[in-house]
Symmetry: D2
Subunit: 390 residues, 4 copies
Amino acid sequence: MAIRVVLIGQGLVATHFAVGVERIKKGELEPYGVPFAKYQMVYDIKDIEIVGSYDVDNEKVGKTVYEVAVKAVGDILPVPETLKSITVRRGIHLGSMEGLPFQVKGLEDELGSTKAAIERLVEEWKQLQPDVIIEVATTEPAKAFHDVKALEEAIEKDDRKRLSASHAYAYAAYLYAKETGKPVAFINVIPSPLARDDAIVKLFEEAGSLVLGDDGATGATPLTADLLEHLAERNRYVMSIAQFNIGGNTDFLALTVPERNKMKEETKSSIVKDILGYDAPHFIKPTGYLEPLGDKKFVSMHIWWKTFNALEDELVVNLRINDSPALAGLLVDLTRIGKALVERGEKGTAYPVNAFFMKDPGPRGARNMSRIRAYYQLLDYLREKGVIKA
Amino acid sequence: MAIRVVLIGQGLVATHFAVGVERIKKGELEPYGVPFAKYQMVYDIKDIEIVGSYDVDNEKVGKTVYEVAVKAVGDILPVPETLKSITVRRGIHLGSMEGLPFQVKGLEDELGSTKAAIERLVEEWKQLQPDVIIEVATTEPAKAFHDVKALEEAIEKDDRKRLSASHAYAYAAYLYAKETGKPVAFINVIPSPLARDDAIVKLFEEAGSLVLGDDGATGATPLTADLLEHLAERNRYVMSIAQFNIGGNTDFLALTVPERNKMKEETKSSIVKDILGYDAPHFIKPTGYLEPLGDKKFVSMHIWWKTFNALEDELVVNLRINDSPALAGLLVDLTRIGKALVERGEKGTAYPVNAFFMKDPGPRGARNMSRIRAYYQLLDYLREKGVIKA
Amino acid sequence: MAIRVVLIGQGLVATHFAVGVERIKKGELEPYGVPFAKYQMVYDIKDIEIVGSYDVDNEKVGKTVYEVAVKAVGDILPVPETLKSITVRRGIHLGSMEGLPFQVKGLEDELGSTKAAIERLVEEWKQLQPDVIIEVATTEPAKAFHDVKALEEAIEKDDRKRLSASHAYAYAAYLYAKETGKPVAFINVIPSPLARDDAIVKLFEEAGSLVLGDDGATGATPLTADLLEHLAERNRYVMSIAQFNIGGNTDFLALTVPERNKMKEETKSSIVKDILGYDAPHFIKPTGYLEPLGDKKFVSMHIWWKTFNALEDELVVNLRINDSPALAGLLVDLTRIGKALVERGEKGTAYPVNAFFMKDPGPRGARNMSRIRAYYQLLDYLREKGVIKA
Amino acid sequence: MAIRVVLIGQGLVATHFAVGVERIKKGELEPYGVPFAKYQMVYDIKDIEIVGSYDVDNEKVGKTVYEVAVKAVGDILPVPETLKSITVRRGIHLGSMEGLPFQVKGLEDELGSTKAAIERLVEEWKQLQPDVIIEVATTEPAKAFHDVKALEEAIEKDDRKRLSASHAYAYAAYLYAKETGKPVAFINVIPSPLARDDAIVKLFEEAGSLVLGDDGATGATPLTADLLEHLAERNRYVMSIAQFNIGGNTDFLALTVPERNKMKEETKSSIVKDILGYDAPHFIKPTGYLEPLGDKKFVSMHIWWKTFNALEDELVVNLRINDSPALAGLLVDLTRIGKALVERGEKGTAYPVNAFFMKDPGPRGARNMSRIRAYYQLLDYLREKGVIKA
């Protein structure tokens, strides 16, 4: 049975997801980078069917996903023709791309209000019938509401300062699920707090649906988490942690805008205390934008600790990693797991899923743990729920 | 209640162990590098009492552990005066230091036969009354017997080619436990196969005792294990692994002798297939000896994999780590756990302990797993056995 | 014959300089880190005599250099008693430490005007009789004047916004040289433009004196210069350069204040175009402050280029380097060279000296070159001038 | 005017050379990796014409260079059709590939003696009329003769133990030049001592020809040379140097045979003392073979030194570099320089050329120097000789 997927933000991650899924379906690509590919899950990767795509970039809206993909990754990947059938639709902006060098327009600008834009989305989704909606737009400034009324008021009053695009999308997903009676899995892999927003979680619970998030855990952060766990298990005393990140994709460009950088920084820092048990001095930040690096970022990390007899050891890690494919690989499993879990009646959010896949796992106040621990806990959970076959 | 400990091989590891334990007992050192220090164990670090020490180096035999420590680490650590009370005794050699630039003599040379040397050890241990015997001599060429009769014949015939010093020590420990009725924990942190030797495990079982081993997991190997687990959990396809090690301590000097190097190499390689599930091409070897590096070795590692959409990522890890203190820190817990387990009736060997602490965990044929998994499994095991308090 | 030296800014660099020079004089330290120590120069390191020290930090003013040194480096170095004879005097502030967590007061605050403060300095120097004055205070915001009249007006009008402390010190040095007829070498190793300020160079020329600067070339910048030269000589096409710096000393703390960071950034970037011949995309910035790293900073660098057949190569460099001693070592030679050159009639500034020792070599508009080239050109120059004996 | 080139050893380096030169001639490739491409030389890259190729691998002999290139680099580079006109001829083996997994046969086996093989080569070359012969076969065990008579006797007696293939080729080149009166430039970029062999140099002098060598300086060695120069110029005291190399090309495979490894090791070590002035403890060796790395090797280097005040700094360098193109790029200039110099009457060998381009510069006993110094000395030399236009 198919899993119908709508993508929000047809950037590099969504493009890698679309290209990779279609290539796997054609049998020309191994599912490397898909964490649970080696287990038998109730949904196969081949069940994934992309049915819709949204963006606010005028260069993309109206083009097919095929056209967008050829432009973005056509020099390094074969782009399957099947992507010609999906056309990028105009989505909600709400200032999420402000300050970046793109020509953008939001549905709310076209239709006059955010509320009207949300209603339009619900209408369209009633036709597209998504099981899973993936929020993978560019990092935006956003704040949790925690209070349903406050959220609904912001929509009603069209308070564009307070409201983020991701909140609007999530609210549309809630309305869609409630009005159709068809539960939906909303997967948020950007830093905006949705699975950590009490209001969003409550609404999804009410609609028998699931919000998974926030901020997909790829790149240096999960590796740092596992390295810290490694040190903590040996009771080595970490004196300081420095981590630099530099890349040339839109996400790094976005982070040159200070308030977006702040969104990332908080996420990345929380792992230190959660895993070590003390707040070792650290500098963990996306550091800069360097265009020629493209999507393959450079990461450098320095960790320094006291070992037995208080002598000092040092670790330096250098990475060259493809940013977007790593997240796209996670989306393949999040899609399958999201669909399977809502079918099995899970609602609100699902911490065991978030703890492995997300940098800032919801619900609000949930702790980070090392990824290796989270992996085995998730495996147990998925077996128990019948999502992975024994 | 005290844990009486005998050290075999008064090299840098044993010296760091002795110095560190005494400093912790004096309250002048935090137990950094002792994995389970933050849990409440039935034995405290302060219960550890070193009662004997053995070596074959003429420069050390007859000296106090204090004198040996001042010479070895006096420039970087304060050496506690309490170590003046332990004098290094002559131990068994059996060629274990052959080819290295030290003046050595074994007890078997003094007394005329290996059997006589073993008997002398048993006699001495009846007076010293150790609960725990730690084998931490220099890496030696050694082969498992697997057959008790074959082992006993080699001792009887004084077959010095076939017999390794560690086998002789383990056999002495067995005799000591059997003759006194007092169970002993024999902890083997060198590569010689003891916990992987069916014969040794069988003898210890018979004597209600425990052999833990083999080859203490410090340095780059457990870190590699956890990095590979990290990649495996994301289904990244590892294309190759290169790992270099260079240092200036006796262990690295020993590895310039080819057959000793081989002892290490096998251990280090087995983790790849055990954790990844396939034998990714790898070069994992202690690489060289460079005297000025001393005990603080330099490690460099390159790992390379395919991520989603078959794109390629790269990881480089560089380490400067103190070799001996890391192992000494593990010995603190192995001592406490060994003592507590024999008291609780455990005998033969204990895989959950070996799986975390050892590079080549016994019994024979046991698999390696990532250290992070092994850690949590060990924690459960120790709680279940009542070694760690809930 | 002695070289009488006055230090401005009794921070870590000046302290390492003072401690190191005295230790070398006592014969307890090899002159490692002093570039020309292996050549026979007309002045020996033992000729250096520190006769005065200035600072604006209330914690330092009035203390001896010995007391300051014991507090700053007493845990890692023996501090010579001879430093008890020099007391730190109050210097000019002019906002140079603004925004940093220190209690400071400037001479201009005590005496009511910058002009009065300058006069006081000249007076004191007439007694101290320095041959060499070293400006090594914390990085401050500063701008060149290029016009003598504008500079003198700023002093006259006490324009504290426009005037930097280093300009005031340099002007005082000029007055001192002019009024006494005794030429002075003013060595500026902070980023403030003095040797690049036409006004300052002109004044020093007039006074038969020498200003050397700006911004002492230590750490990652000269190494980057030589790596780029290495690539340029092989006609490798550099695609991008990323360089991160993080440390825990006052200099890094100062750089958390944005305008100070900008002072550094410009300096560091200019090497790319000057050496490669094209402006390869780069991100070269002091990146962050991490207190536990102290004076031993961590640097990470990624360089990426096209080789023959347009294939791509990559280089990653990681450094752990002591920031202050590296600069202190250069000061030893700058002091000796400065003194010898003014005696030989050199005046204004001396590009061959600046090109090797400085990140932003004066005079205004002078180019950077790789350090290895600069070294051999300087060697020729010093031989020609008779500063180094053939 | 054309430069007629014969290649000995149609491996990866010769293939990159052939492909790259043809691509540059077609105008589809920038001359990145060709050191002096930005200067105006008397011969242009477009003047290079490959007229012959030799190998002993049965898989290659009789194939065109085009076919060999498609197989070797066809997946990563476009292979120009022009290479179809050159067919690989059978060359001399003399055991140079012994122990490696290739099916090989030498001309000396076909013709019955080494002397006959040499004569055949001379005959063929009289038709091909090369100006430049490039020796770029796999690293072989070889020893210098230093005495012409001894060399000629070895050829006469067909002493295949003593004689290396490269000596036989060089002797053939000498005969060719002598008999035709047409001077030749023989360029040896493998470790075999030719430019360091008094006998070879003497013969070339006699024939008005030039031998340049030995062992092309690419990869980590010239970089290490420049890093050591950087440290030496600051009088930093190097405590130790560790350098690892691992790759998957034939050269690394060859080095798994111990005596070949030794050939490399000596070369690499000599730079330390030559540049630093003292023999800092070092471990500099090609370390291992790891097939998936292919031609893009991984290099890791650790250097450690004392700075001012005897504090310790550390440098780690990690490289991923394409081995063969780097050397091919140097060959482009060596070819042009070799041809221009013999025309200008240079004979024997030319140290200024060797000092920059070679790891073990001839003549016998010549010193290594940092590459950056050697570069500028070579530039001066080439200008003086009129090879580079002012």
